[in-house]
Structures are given as C-alpha cells and as structure tokens.
C-alpha cells in the first residue's frame, strides 16, 4: 500500500482506530442519549408502583406484578398484534418479490423510474393513504360490492372494521419496506451467474430457485424484518380501519399511555420489545445471516 509506505507502519493502525471512533462517535452518542437512556427510563417506569400517578409521582417499588397483570389482561391484543403483523409481512413478501425482481432484472432503462414509483405513493401521508383505504373498503364501496358478488363476503357483511381491513392496511402501508431491500439485494446479483445456470441446462425456474433466490436472501431477511417490526407495534391501521375486536398491542400501549397508566403501558412496551428481539434473533439464526445485524 502506498499510504503505508509514507507513514511509519505502526502509526497506521492507531490512526485508523482513531478514525473509526471519530466516524462512530456522533451517531453513537445520539443513539445513546436519545434511544438507550430513554429506554432505561422506560424499564424503570415499568417497575413503578402502579398506584402512583403523574401528579403525585411514582414510587420505584420493583413491581414485577405490572408485567404479569399486563400480560394476563392484554394477552389477546398481544397475540393478535403479532398474528396480523406476520400475515401482513408474508403478503408483502409475496407481492413485493415479483415487483423487486421486475425492477432489478426486467426494467432496463426504466429501472430508476419504477424505483421512484415504488416510493412515490408514500410521499402522501401515511394517514391520508390509510383514510383512503377506509373509503375504498367502506360498506357501500366498490370492493365490498365485488366481494359480495364473488360470495367472499356475506350480503350483510362488511370489510371495514374487520381483521381483513387491518391486515390489508398493514400490507399496503409497509410494502415499500419490503420492496426496497429486496431490490437492493437482487440488483447486486451478477447476471452471469444466472446465465451460467442456464448454460448448464437449468430451466429458468431452476435457475431462479437455485441461484437467484438464495442470493437474494439477505434482501428477504432485511425486508421481512423492516416490515414485521413496525407492523407489530402499529396502531394507526387498527385504529382507522378496525374496531374494538381488532385491537392490536400497539393500540393498548398507546391508550394506556394516553390515560396516564404509565407503569402498565411501560410493562407492555417492554414485553413487546423483548418478544420482538427474541423472535428476530431466532429468525436470523435460522436464516443464517448474522451479518445483517
């Protein structure tokens, strides 16, 4: 290395190490101060005496019962939150993969344009889009009519205020989080590898299954995580498109915070986070790519 020849050899690693810390420090401090420290406060709050209030203050009493109470009481929205998010993530993968694939391999000179079109709908607000779905799925709407004709919905049935509407909203709203990482990893694949598979008499389907799909796994993993995690904690879709029978864990946390029941809300939040971290670690270990973390 030319640079190494100029400086004394021993000085290079030390300078490098200093550079690394300099690069890491600003962002690292930001995340520590505004993410980690608040999180510690949250865990502390989850162990406060639940009989306290914002005005009177809370006593730190190591009330582990906050957790058992919260889980006992809100098991149903907790399970529902994870269930809805899992279904939505799967749907995102199924419809997002062909789109990412088409952009990466088939779009040619239209690649950038299509990529932008993926993001463009999301320049209008999340809330406005979700409110639009409320209109699309409304009881006298076109979609309900078609579903009734097809016999998928009973004559007096509805789509709005059902789990279907909530999952549909989640799927729609988190789709770009799936498509963009998928595209990023598909785009990096060396085309010659796929051609080589063809030269070796693999059918296009075999080529896809044995070459393209395995090479795109980092994108699949990143996409599913970026979709599943925010979907699990979301409460906007369930609030706007669902009803009281479709409450997700996010709704419960939000409403507990809103009414000032901080210890219960904090305990639920910590529970949700711990569950997500466990599931994600298991998933990543199974998928075999720890480098993504």
């Amino acid at each position: 290395m030319t640079a190494g020849a100029v400086a004394p050899p021993a000085a290079v690693p030390r300078r490098r190490r200093a550079t690394v810390w300099l690069l890491l420090l600003p962002g690292g401090l930001w995340l520590t101060a505004f993410f980690l420290v608040p999180l510690v406060q949250l865990v502390a709050t989850s162990l406060y005496d639940p009989s306290g209030s914002e005005e009177l203050g809370y006593a730190m009493t190591w009330s582990w019962s906050n957790y058992t109470d919260a889980i006992d009481f809100y098991a149903e929205p907790l399970v529902r939150g994870f269930g809805y998010a899992a279904v939505a993530t799967l749907l995102c993968l199924v419809i997002g993969y062909p789109l990412a694939y088409a952009i990466a391999f088939k779009a040619g000179r239209w690649k950038n344009l299509m990529l932008v079109l993926v993001i463009a709908p999301f320049f209008t607000s999340f809330l406005i889009r979700t409110l639009a779905w409320k209109l699309i799925l409304s009881d006298n709407g076109f979609v309900v009519g078609v579903f009734k004709t097809l016999g998928l919905v009973a004559d007096d049935g509805r789509l709005l205020a059902t789990g279907f509407a909530v999952v549909a909203g989640l799927t729609y709203n988190f789709l770009p989080f799936m498509v963009l990482p998928l595209y990023a990893s598909l785009e990096k694949i060396d085309h010659r590898l796929i051609e080589a598979a063809g030269d070796l008499y693999a059918s296009p389907v075999q080529g896809f299954r044995r070459v393209t799909l395995p090479l795109s796994m980092p994108g699949v993993i990143a996409g599913t995580l970026l979709t599943f995690i925010p979907a699990t904690g979301d409460f906007i879709n369930a609030q706007l498109l669902g009803d009281t029978t479709t409450t997700m864990i996010g709704n419960v946390i939000q409403s507990r915070f809103e009414v000032g029941d901080y210890p219960a809300a904090a305990a639920l939040s910590v529970t949700l986070m711990v569950l997500i971290v466990i599931m994600v670690s298991v998933y990543i270990r199974k998928a075999g790519t720890e480098d993504l973390l």
């Binding site: 690394v20 949250l42 939040s269 480098d291």
Partner: protein, 268 residues
C-alpha cells in the same frame, strides 16, 4: 419449453410487477378524486359532487398550511442530520474490524426493533425528567426524528458498501491514487446511490411520522398530526388537495432528476 419459460419470466414477472405498482397507486387515485369532492356533511367520507373549491382554497382549514411548513422543515433537517451521522457510521462499520463493533451494531439495530410507540413514550419520559417538559416542540421532534432515521440510513448505506468490491479501491491505489483520491473518485461515487436512497428514506420516514411525533411535539403540529386531529372531527377535503399536491411535486422532482441524468449521460 425453455423458450416458453423464458418468455414467461420476461413478461409475466413484469406484468405482475406493474400490477403491484398499480395497486400501490389505488389510494392515490382515491385521494386525487376526493380532492375534487364537495361533501354534503363533514362526517361523511363519500364522493358527493365535483368542485374546484378545495383547490382554490387549499389553506382554508386553520393550521393546515403552517403544519405543512413545520413538517417540511423538520423533514429536511432530520434528513441532513441522519444521513450525515448514519453514513459516517456505515463506513466505520463496514471498513474496519475493531473491538466494540458488534456492540455498535446492536445499538444501531435496536431502534429498528423498537415499536415507535415505545420510542416516543420513553423519549417523552426522558425530556420531562430532565426538565424539557415545557420546551417540547420543533427541536424535540427533530431530535427524535434524527434518532429513528439514523439506523435506517446506516443499514441502507452499509448494504451498498458491503456489496462493493474493495479491490476497486486497491486498484486505484495501485495506480498511484492517494487514499483520499481513491475514496472520492472510486468508493464514494459507487456508494452514492446508497446514500441517496438512504436520504430519501429518511425524509419519507420523518415527513410521515405520526407516532413518535405525537409524544414529543408539545404544542407543535406537524402535518400528520393535523390529519390525525382532523380525522377525529371530520376530514376537510383540503387534506386530499395537499396529499395530491405532495404526490405531484414528488413525481415532478423525480422526473426532472431522471431527465437531467439522462441528458448528462448522453452528453458524456
């Protein structure tokens, strides 16, 4: 058989891809339609009659346009902050092996594994605890937005960096480029698309955020917060005008960018 398979993979995938794209635009079409709607009552969210009134008076509902300005300001500042900090971190994490690397990775990963409702609430608790309770507003929103955009920037830029062949940089240095020349002439241009998409993502995340903002905003109203408030009372149709305009501006910006890029390429 092979030819048929190839034809299918050539055209069917594209057809499915375009269908998915079309699906992504369904709500946009609805928003555009509703921007011309003259509702009978404020509570009913149905198309009643055509009107241009909403477009002639987009700032009609009180506070709508000022909330929009706030959101753009916060979005731009958060994008700059998060892209800068995140890109630096991504370079440090990909290029070097050092002690504490996996710790740094965990620190970056955790905010993405946290539901927004948790981040917002814990930030609020911190701000109140350090006596910032009365100062909640523009700057606390910005702090929060940079925080949650940061990890997404790191992940996006890092993905691009990891796909980069480090031999390209070595080749440049073998050809007597200095370290900084090799960086600015080889590495940076190759990573730049990643940085750009990270910045786009950061702006979209910040501009659109409701949940974290809700906890850290005090009296400051961003556009999503305005919409949420309006959704409880009955939605003014001007919100759809803004939604349509936002969409059109975004598309326009992108088209201009793409056209100028093509022109540059042709000149070259």
């Amino acid at each position: 058989m092979v030819r048929l398979g190839r034809w299918i993979s050539d055209h069917a995938v594209m057809a499915v891809g375009l269908a998915v794209l079309a699906y992504m635009f369904v709500p946009i079409v609805v928003v555009i339609l509703m921007s011309f709607n003259q509702p009978v009552s404020r509570a009913a969210y149905t198309f009643d009659a055509f009107t241009l009134a909403n477009w002639q008076n987009p700032c009609g509902p009180e506070g709508l346009c000022s909330s929009l300005v706030t959101s753009v300001q916060i979005g731009l500042l958060a994008t700059v902050g998060a892209t800068l900090l995140g890109t630096l971190m991504a370079f440090a994490l990909v290029r070097q092996r050092f002690r504490g690397r996996s710790l740094a990775n965990v620190l970056i990963f955790l905010p993405m594994a946290s539901p927004e409702v948790v981040m917002g609430a814990s930030l609020l608790a911190l701000f109140v605890a350090v006596g910032f309770g009365g100062l909640l507003g523009f700057w606390t929103i910005l702090i929060a937005h940079i925080m949650f955009c940061l990890s997404f920037v790191v992940v996006t830029v890092r993905a691009r960096l990891q796909g980069l062949d480090s031999r390209l940089e070595q080749a440049a240095m073998d050809l007597y480029a200095t370290e900084s020349q090799a960086f600015w002439k080889v590495t940076f241009p190759l990573v730049f698309p990643g940085i750009l998409s990270a910045a786009l993502l950061a702006f979209a995340l910040s501009f659109d955020d409701f949940i974290v903002t809700n906890f850290t905003s005090g009296q400051t109203v961003t556009f999503p917060m305005f919409v949420w408030g309006a959704a409880q009372r009955g939605i003014p149709m001007q919100i759809n005008v803004i939604g349509t305009a936002m969409f059109l501006v975004a598309v326009l910006v992108v088209l201009v960018g793409e056209l100028s890029r093509r022109r540059r390429e042709r000149v070259r």
